[in-house]
Amino acid sequence: MPTPEILRRKYNPLDHYITLTVIFTAFAFKLEWQIVILAVLVAVTVFSTNRKRIYRGFLKFVLPLILIGFLINGLFFTGSIAFAVGPLKFKDQGLVFASAVAVRLTLIVIAISYYFSRVRSETMAEYLVAKGADRRFVYIYLLSVAMVHLMRDKLQKIYTAQSARGLDTTRNIFTRARYLLPMLVPLSYSYIAESLDRGTALRAAGFSDRKYSRLNAPVPIVQIEVNRRGLLEGRIILAAAICFWVLRLTKWL
């Protein structure tokens, strides 16, 4: 039996420890400390080669959320007026609440963007399996990511075909709602049948959650090389954040 070629992938756990630490601080620390951590994070990521990717998600999804949050909470919270723009009176309590939400969201989003700008999702999945995560979860995740792209292409083809047969998106809402079925039925039918066949193939190949099934041989096809220095540094950073939080909580600091 030929030995499968082993793929070697490098993984630095420092990346996920930094992300975990930032997410922890976003929930556990007070606003002033969150702002300090955010400033450090921005200073670090702004010099990163992946900065465009990191900030794209923030600008696209979080910035509009934050601006509307300031508007709604600033205007409709009770409390004293911080400032007024014409007839619009912004309350200080609302602005403080909106600031807390904004800082927390920014921290979380930049931390997650930072992680995925450094680590590919396949490498993350392989690392999780190597660390003992249930292989079924990893398989579901990877398969669903792959299926999204395939199903989108297929949906577009079905839409084009149905448009050629008279599907009209300018008609009233109930007619348009009825158009969903001619699009979803062929898509679901073909993918349910395909999923069942795939399931049969998996079962025949001996896929299971057990450590040594035939698809999870003792010699893994992908080998993850973990950066030990990064692992140590990451653990120190997370432990320091937790210690700092405990000391603040117990009033030692």
């Binding site: 939400v101 398989y139 398969l143 809402i173 299971s208």
Partner: protein
């Protein structure tokens, strides 16, 4: 606990794993279909409800969770925080499927309405405390309105959910019912929960 583990093992195995992945992908792709035909609904739980019906509540919960994880990682991070809501949707759909709500269209609609109320209850605290009541879901003007008439932030987020979710979930349940009636019996019989359809 032993019962939960046994149910998990029964519902998440080699046969059902590709179905769960399909359900998660369907949740995401239906969003695209809704945009293509310009419907003012989310319908982002159809995959969760379908899998909860044809496999079971645990599989439904996993479907919702993985759909939101994938959406969160690749499209919009906000979805990650709403995973608890998808767990509620998966669990409820799986449980009501067992009493036969997907066998008659007139049973699917009230079940969908109740599902919508539960989804609103589950999502309100997340929307309020994580996002300050704003989720960019297209119904934020309702939060603005409820805040303007003096409701608290949690109440506003809940009422906004209550205004949008029951209709959305009732339509989703109805679509799943129609999907199940149009899928051939030969395929349905191969599904673990075919008796629910």
């Amino acid at each position: 606990m032993a019962e939960a583990v046994s149910r998990f093992e029964r519902e998440v195995n080699a046969t059902t794993i590709p179905l769960i992945a399909f359900g998660a992908a369907l949740n995401i792709v239906v969003g695209q279909a809704v945009q293509l035909i310009k419907l003012p609904l989310y319908l982002d739980s159809i995959g969760t409800i379908l899998i909860a019906c044809v496999v079971g509540p645990v599989a439904g919960m996993l479907t919702g969770a993985f759909a939101n994880l994938t959406l969160g990682f690749f499209f919009n991070y906000a979805f990650i925080f709403f995973i608890p809501v998808t767990l509620v949707i998966g669990a409820f759909s799986g449980l009501v499927a067992k009493i036969g709500v997907f066998r008659k269209w007139y049973a699917a609609i009230p079940a969908g309405l109740v599902q919508g109320v539960l989804a609103a209850v589950a999502s309100a605290p997340i929307a309020a405390f994580m996002f300050g009541g704003v989720t960019m879901g297209g119904t934020d003007f309702l939060v603005l309105y409820f805040r303007a008439i003096g409701k608290s932030i949690v109440q506003s987020a809940f009422l906004q959910g209550l205004a949008a979710d029951p209709v959305d979930k009732a339509v989703s349940y109805l679509i799943v019912y129609f999907l199940l009636t149009r899928i051939p019996k030969s395929i349905l019989l191969r599904l673990p929960g075919y008796a629910n359809a």
